[in-house]
């Protein structure tokens, strides 16, 4: 029977870990009991993007958006909404402005400000059924390209579209294809770089999980353009859901003859295999990735020769990122001019960002290039929780830098972010508020790069370790002013002398925090205090005269270190205090802060 209602349940990794599979099973069971099963469709989709509100369930045709759905809520949804047609208001998202309920998806500001190209099908189709992808014009671009265009026309169209690599570098995809096409060889390869490693970035995973076929289709188009018949997807084994869905997708595409030999009745053949990576950050670098596929240790080598000349097994190879590929089919369906009309002059199209950290709407957003950071953080992201003040955004993960309040109105594109001392990177955005210590943030990212450095070249292997030691010293309260100078000297040296992108960009978090938050470093070294109250050795919480004596801090303190009568100023016993910061979070008037110790003694 025709399905009058379709229930879409988010099957992204975020929602899967909060029981969306169990929710689907419960729906099946309940609908069976109510004998509604054959008039209601149940679909486990890819990520909807609004991970903060997960697990998310959307009920079509009215696009009713249910957030934080629990297994126990399923019965209510079935009884009220599915059977009687009364949407369950208590599960809808509240409008923060007037406390009314937001009834459907299009009313959510989070979605209305986005423009979804790479994520066009994520959360819209069932990634396990190729038919649903085909229904959304899937593989039509491949068919068009194979039957109506020559390989050179395909490359020209790509150059015209202005699409730039979404993995971080921002190199023109069309030009990359042209280089690979120009290389003469009996065998060429197409590689999809799905080794997503930036802490906090997960857009590639979302695409692979929610719309795997778009990547397969784009790889086949690329194969036709450069003259290759074999593709590899290099994906980390840490993404089991993505790997499983890719395997199923490849199997289905082969069954329909959309991969394999003589596609669309032409002489073009294309096959795709999956290669699993062990999750090393450096394997996101294309030469290291190629070495890893060949079975060697994932270590980068000198460029040139570029992979387009000598890549996998010595043959010309084209490597593109997942998000880049996800944009490709649309460009051939709607034309390069359409794509060019979106975004800015030098950076066309859209970019997916993963919002994380201190922000209300954690999740994935896709916006046209040229959108300002302020729009992303405050309009789409919903601002900072708990009325805290915005401090900085770290873009580009461990290779990027931080951007402060004064640069929030900069339109985002590749050039502008680089000019600000950060970079586009793969699009992770960590938002930080006044409770984040920037020295600690720099230390966190450096700790990551020290772990992930492959060890091939000395500046990266030894230099990053030296920098981490200095940062640890500063955070523990033993830093000196000379340490800060040494840190800067080392940072520039590593930037200039490292072999690959990992080392060249590893000092970026330090340099940009030093540039914008030098006073925090100095506070750590000279005043022996951590203004944000993060570094334990340097934190001394003090209650100032703004205290209204509400007793909230005393009640939240786990060690009973705070004393004081109601409506009188409270006092913290620093010998009992464990610097957990619970009191600071609880204070309604922001009267608790970390102060240099000597001032406390004086007062």
């Amino acid at each position: 029977m025709l399905e009058r209602i379709q229930i879409l349940i988010c099957g992204g990794t975020g929602c899967l870990s909060s029981q969306s599979k169990e929710i689907k099973a419960k729906f099946e069971e309940t609908l069976e009991l109510m004998s509604l099963k054959n008039e209601v469709g149940l679909v486990l989709t890819g990520c909807f993007g609004l991970c903060e509100k997960g697990p998310v369930v959307i009920v079509y045709p009215d696009e009713t958006f249910y957030s934080h759905v629990k297994v126990e809520d399923v019965k209510k949804i079935c009884e009220e909404h599915i059977l009687k047609g009364r949407p369950v208001e208590s599960l809808m998202i509240k409008n923060p402005e007037d406390k009314s309920r937001i009834k459907n998806m299009s009313q959510l500001k989070f979605y209305s400000k986005q423009k979804r190209i790479a994520l066009r099908n994520c959360g819209n189709i069932n990634p396990l059924e190729i038919e649903e992808y085909i229904a959304k014009d899937g593989y039509l671009a491949l068919g068009k390209v194979l039957t109506e265009m020559t390989p050179q026309e395909v490359v020209d169209e790509m150059i015209k579209s202005g699409l730039r690599g979404r993995g971080g570098g921002g190199f023109s995809t069309g030009k990359k294809w042209q280089f690979a096409k120009n290389s003469v060889s009996d065998k060429k390869y197409v590689i999809c770089n799905a080794d997503e490693g930036d802490p906090g970035a997960f857009m590639d995973r979302a695409v692979l999980e929610g719309d795997p076929h778009s990547v397969l289709e784009a790889m086949a188009i690329c194969g036709y353009a450069i003259g290759s018949d074999q593709g590899y997807i290099y994906v980390r084994a840490e993404y089991p859901v993505a790997v499983e869905r890719l395997r199923i997708a490849i199997g289905q595409a082969e069954q329909y003859g959309l991969l394999g030999n003589h596609l669309f009745g032409t002489d073009f053949n294309f096959n795709i295999d999956i290669r699993l990576g062990a999750g090393a950050f450096v394997c996101g670098e294309e030469t290291a990735l190629i070495a890893s596929i060949e079975g060697y240790r994932g270590m980068p080598r000198l460029k040139p020769p570029f992979p387009a000349v000598r890549g996998l097994w010595g043959k010309p190879t084209n490597v593109n990122n997942v998000e880049t590929f996800a944009n490709v089919p649309v460009i051939y369906l709607k034309g390069a001019d359409w794509f060019k009309s979106i975004g800015t002059e030098k950076s066309s199209g859209t970019k997916v960002f993963a919002l994380g950290g201190k922000i209300n709407n954690t999740g994935l957003v896709e916006v046209p290039m040229g959108t300002t950071l302020r729009e992303i953080v405050f309009d789409i992201g919903g601002g900072i929780p708990n009325k805290r003040k915005f401090k900085a955004i770290q873009t580009g993960g461990p290779s990027g830098g931080c951007i402060t309040e004064k640069d929030l109105d900069t339109p985002i594109d590749f050039e502008n972010l680089t000019a600000l001392g950060s970079m586009m990177g793969s699009g992770g955005m960590i938002i930080m508020d006044e409770d984040n210590c920037m020295v600690d943030v720099a230390r966190f990212y450096l700790d990551f790069t020290v772990d992930e450095s492959c060890g091939k070249c000395t500046p990266c292997r030894e230099g990053t370790k030296q920098m981490l030691d200095i940062l640890n010293r500063i955070c523990d309260g033993f830093g000196t002013m000379e340490d800060i100078d040494e840190l800067e000297r080392l940072a520039h040296m590593i930037q200039e002398t490292s072999l690959c992108g990992l080392g060249q960009t590893a000092p970026n978090p330090i340099l940009s925090t030093l540039k914008h938050f030098r006073h925090e470093y100095i506070a750590h070294v000279v005043e022996h205090t951590c203004p944000a109250g993060v570094c334990r050795e340097l934190t001394n919480f003090v209650i100032d005269d703004h205290c209204i004596g509400c007793t909230k801090c005393a009640r939240s303190c786990p060690t009973n270190a705070i004393s004081g009568w109601p409506k009188q100023k409270h006092l913290i016993d620093l010998d009992l205090c464990i610097r957990c910061g619970a009191c600071k979070k609880a204070c309604p008037v922001n009267a608790i802060s970390s102060q240099p110790l000597h001032e406390e003694v004086r007062s």
Binding site: M1, L2, E3, R4, I5, Q6, L8, E39, G41, Y60, P61, D62, L83, K84, G85, R86, N124, I125, E131, E132, I134, A135, D137, G138, Y139, L140, G143, K144, T147, Y256, G257, L258, L263, F264, G265
Partner: protein, 122 residues
């Protein structure tokens, strides 16, 4: 896959199953499914609407259910809201009446006067 035509055919076939997800605007049929509606047999009515829509391969129709419409004596009822937003309330429905409504009203755009609440109530 032999040709582009094959793919387009497959696409149109697959789209039929997903229409509910992409219908925006179009005709909306709301079946009264309060206790009164269910007791007087609204479920078979709802089902025959779905069957007929599938049979005629209509892609611009959404079927939903609503609560009691306040005229319990005339259940089972269904409100049909057409593209222009005009509302027609059909009452005392039977599956054969549903067939007529789909064929005459939705396909040929001729509302059936005698099935409507205004006619029955006089």
């Amino acid at each position: 896959m032999k040709s582009l035509e094959d793919l387009k055919q497959l696409r149109d076939e697959a789209l039929k199953k997903m229409t509910m997800r992409y219908v925006k605007g179009g005709i909306r049929i709301q079946v009264g499914m309060g206790t009164c509606g269910i007791a007087s047999g609204a479920r078979p009515i709802l089902q025959s609407f779905l069957e007929q829509i599938q049979l005629h391969e209509l892609s611009n129709v959404v079927v939903t259910q609503v609560g009691c419409m306040g005229e319990c004596a005339y259940e089972p009822m269904a409100e049909l809201i057409d593209e222009s937003g005009q509302s027609f309330v059909y009452c005392n429905l039977t599956p054969s009446m549903v067939r007529d409504i789909i064929e005459k009203h939705i396909i040929n755009h001729e509302p059936i006067e005698k099935f409507q609440l205004t006619a029955k109530k006089g």
